[in-house]
Symmetry: C2
Subunit: 355 residues, 2 copies
DNA sequence: TTGTAAGCGTTATCAT
DNA sequence: ATGATAACGCTTACAA
C-alpha cells in the first residue's frame, strides 16, 4: 500500500530530531542554513508531503468546507460550485459536495454526515422540501460557520448571498406583459422557500402595477421542487385545463422551466405560439430551443465565490462574528439571444461584497 | 467555537479510563453490561461522535475517495456522480469531486491536491487535453487504488468501466444512413482519448459497411473537448464551408453536440432539415429541442456505481490485487422520444458487474 | 473487567 | 541551533 514519507523518516535518515525537521521545513530562522538546505533537499528528493490528517488533528480543523445543495445537475448550482471551487482551492480548502435531491430527509442526513466529518464550515442552499431547519440551527449554535446562498432562511442569523428575486420576477413578468400577454400563470417551487415567496411577490406586484388582477388558480406550487414524478406535469395540465386558460407562464426555477417545457410539448402546446414562457434558469440550452426562451439568469459563479469568501472569513476569524451581511446581487434578463442588463450597478455590488 | 465531546471527557466524567470507554462504545464483550450501559447513555446524552480525523490518523485511511472529471455541468458526469455517491455514502465514504474543465494542467493539480489530502482511492475520467498520464501512474505505482470510467487509458492496468463505444457509434451512424443521410461528418473530441478513437472507428466501420467511403475532411477534432472559445464553432464552420458539404453530423460527446447545435443555429442552418444530427449525450434536454434529436445515451448512473464498487473493493482488499476487470456496458439509442434498446443483455451485464 | 502505554504525524513549549 | 516531550482523539497490545 501507499506509504508516504514522514518527518520521522527524514529525521532518522539525517540523524536529526523531528522538531528540527519540522522547523527546517517551515523555514524557521532558528535553524542553520546548512541544516535547512539538507532537510529541504532530502524532502524534495523523497517527495515529502505533510500529512493533512495529522495537521487537521493538531489544528482542530479539516480545511474542508461542505456544500449542501439540491442538485449538481442544475446549471445554477454547477456554476455556483465552480465559483465555490475557484475560491476554496486557492485558499487551501477542500470542497465536499452533497446533494439532497430536494429531499428534506437527505438534507438532514447529508448535513449530519458532513458535520460528523468535521468540515470547517457549510455553504448551504436549502432543499425545496425543507420547512424546518433545526439541523442547521443546532450546528450554528455550536459555532459551526454557515453561509447561505440563493435559497436562504431568515431563521438563522449569518451571512447570506442572494439575488433580488423580487425585481427579477417583476421584470420578467413585465416583459411578458410588454409582449402582449395578459393571463400570466406562475409555476413555482415549494412555498417553504423564501426565494419562492419573493418571486411570487414580484409576480403579483408586476400584475397589480399593470392593473391585472391576481388569479389564485394561476399559481401552482411544486413542493418537491419538481423532483417527484408528475409533479410539474400535473401542475401544467391543471393550468391548461382551466376554463380561462393562461396565455403565458412564469417559472420560478430551472428545473420547473425545463419540466414545464417538456410537459407542454407532451400536451402538444407550442411555445410561445400557444403559451408564452419565461423563467429563472441559468441553462445555456434555453437558447437552443426554438424559438429561444426568455430567461432570468442569476450570477451563479459570483454568488458561489462571494459565499465562499464570506465563509472562509467566518472560519478564520479569531473572535465570534456578530455582524452579518446579506449580499444582494442582481439578475439579468436574457431575451432571445440578446442579454439586457437590467441593473447597471451589478458589478459594483459584487466588488463591494468581495472586499 | 465548535467543541465536540471526546472519549477523554466521558472517561473523566465517569471515572473510567479512555480505553474502557473506547471498548464500551464499540460494544466489546470484555466490558461489563453495567459499564457499557452507563457509557452508552452518557455518550447518547452528550451526543458523542467519534472524531473521524483521529480515526483516519490511526487507521491510516481517510474514508474518502476522490473523483476526477472534466465537468460536473455535463449530464453524463452529474449522473455518474449520483451513482458514485449512492454507493460511496452507503459504504461510509466521502466523495471529493474535482473538475479539470478539460485542462491537463488542472487535472494534474487536482490529482496532486487530492492525493496530498490522502484520499483512499481515485475515480477518474480523463480530461480531453490529457495526452500523458504520469501523474496517475506515479500514484498507481505507489499503491493508490484507481478506477477509470468512461474516459479510460490503456497505459494503467486497473479496473475500468466503459461502454461499447464502437457499437454505440456504429449504431448511431447506421441510424443516420437508414434515415437517408449519406455525407456524414464526425465531430469528435480529443484524439488523445481512447473513447474518441473507438467512436471514430465505429463511425468509419458503419460507413464502410454501407459502401460509403471515409472522407477525412469530414472528421473534425476538438482537442480541448470544446472548452476553448470558438473550438466547436470553427469546426462546424469549416464543415459547412466544404465544397461537398456534409448532410449530417455525428457528435462524439455531450458538449460537442450542444455546441454544434448552437453553432448551426448561429449559421442559420436548420436541424435536421439542412443537416442531420446525432450524438453521444445524456442530456434530457435534447428531447426539448424541436425536432428532438437522436441521442446515444450511456448508463452513467450505473457506471458510477460499478466504478465505485470496484474502487472500494480495491481499497479494502487486504493483499495487492493483480487481476483487473474491464466492465463493458451498453449504450442506448434514443430516437425522437422513443427509446430503442439496442442491446438486450444490458441489464445482465450490469448485474454481473456488481457482484 | 479494567487500566496503562504506545503510536498514528505534526507542531508548540520548554529545555539544553 | 537543536532536542525531548506533550498534545491533538482514538485504538490496541499488554498488564493487572
Amino acid at each position: 500500500m501507499y506509504e508516504a514519507i514522514t518527518i520521522k523518516d527524514i529525521a532518522k535518515a539525517l540523524g536529526l530530531s523531528t522538531s528540527t525537521i519540522s522547523r527546517a521545513l517551515r523555514g524557521s530562522h532558528e535553524i542553520s542554513q546548512e541544516t535547512k538546505r539538507m532537510v529541504m533537499e532530502y524532502a524534495e528528493q523523497f517527495n515529502y508531503r505533510p500529512n493533512p490528517i495529522a495537521l487537521s488533528l493538531k489544528e482542530r480543523r479539516s480545511r474542508s468546507i461542505g456544500v449542501v445543495v439540491c442538485e449538481i445537475a442544475n446549471t445554477f448550482f454547477s456554476q455556483a460550485i465552480n465559483g465555490i471551487e475557484s475560491i476554496a482551492y486557492n485558499r487551501g480548502y477542500h470542497v465536499i459536495i452533497s446533494q439532497s435531491h430536494e429531499s428534506y430527509e437527505r438534507e438532514v442526513v447529508n448535513v449530519e454526515h458532513l458535520s460528523s466529518r468535521s468540515v470547517d464550515g457549510l455553504l448551504v442552499s436549502l432543499s425545496a422540501e425543507t420547512d424546518r431547519i433545526d439541523h442547521f440551527k443546532k450546528l450554528h449554535e455550536k459555532g459551526l460557520p454557515i453561509v447561505f446562498f440563493d435559497r436562504v432562511t431568515d431563521e438563522i442569523e449569518t451571512h447570506k448571498v442572494v439575488v433580488d428575486n423580487f425585481k427579477g420576477a417583476y421584470d420578467a413578468v413585465q416583459h411578458l406583459i410588454n409582449a402582449g400577454f395578459k393571463k400570466i400563470a406562475h409555476l413555482t417551487s415549494s412555498s417553504h422557500l423564501y426565494i419562492s415567496r419573493e418571486r411570487l411577490n414580484g409576480y403579483k406586484a408586476a400584475l397589480v402595477d399593470n392593473n391585472i388582477s391576481v388569479n389564485d388558480d394561476y399559481i401552482k406550487y411544486c413542493n418537491h421542487g419538481g423532483m417527484i414524478i408528475g409533479e410539474v406535469e400535473n401542475a401544467i395540465k391543471e393550468l391548461m385545463q382551466l376554463k380561462n386558460r393562461p396565455d403565458a407562464i412564469f417559472c420560478a426555477g430551472d428545473r420547473l422551466m425545463l419540466s414545464a417545457l417538456s410537459s407542454l410539448k407532451a400536451l402538444d402546446i407550442k411555445v410561445p405560439a400557444d403559451v408564452g414562457l419565461v423563467g429563472f434558469t441559468n441553462s445555456p440550452l434555453v437558447e437552443l430551443i426554438e424559438p429561444s426562451l426568455t430567461a432570468i439568469k442569476q450570477p451563479a459563479f459570483e454568488m458561489g465565490q462571494i459565499a465562499t469568501e464570506l465563509l472562509i472569513k467566518l472560519i478564520e476569524s479569531k473572535r465570534p462574528v456578530t455582524e452579518f451581511e446579506t449580499i444582494p446581487l442582481q439578475t439579468e434578463l436574457c431575451i432571445r439571444n440578446s442579454t439586457k442588463n437590467i441593473h447597471a450597478e451589478k458589478s459594483g455590488k459584487v466588488k463591494k461584497a468581495v472586499l
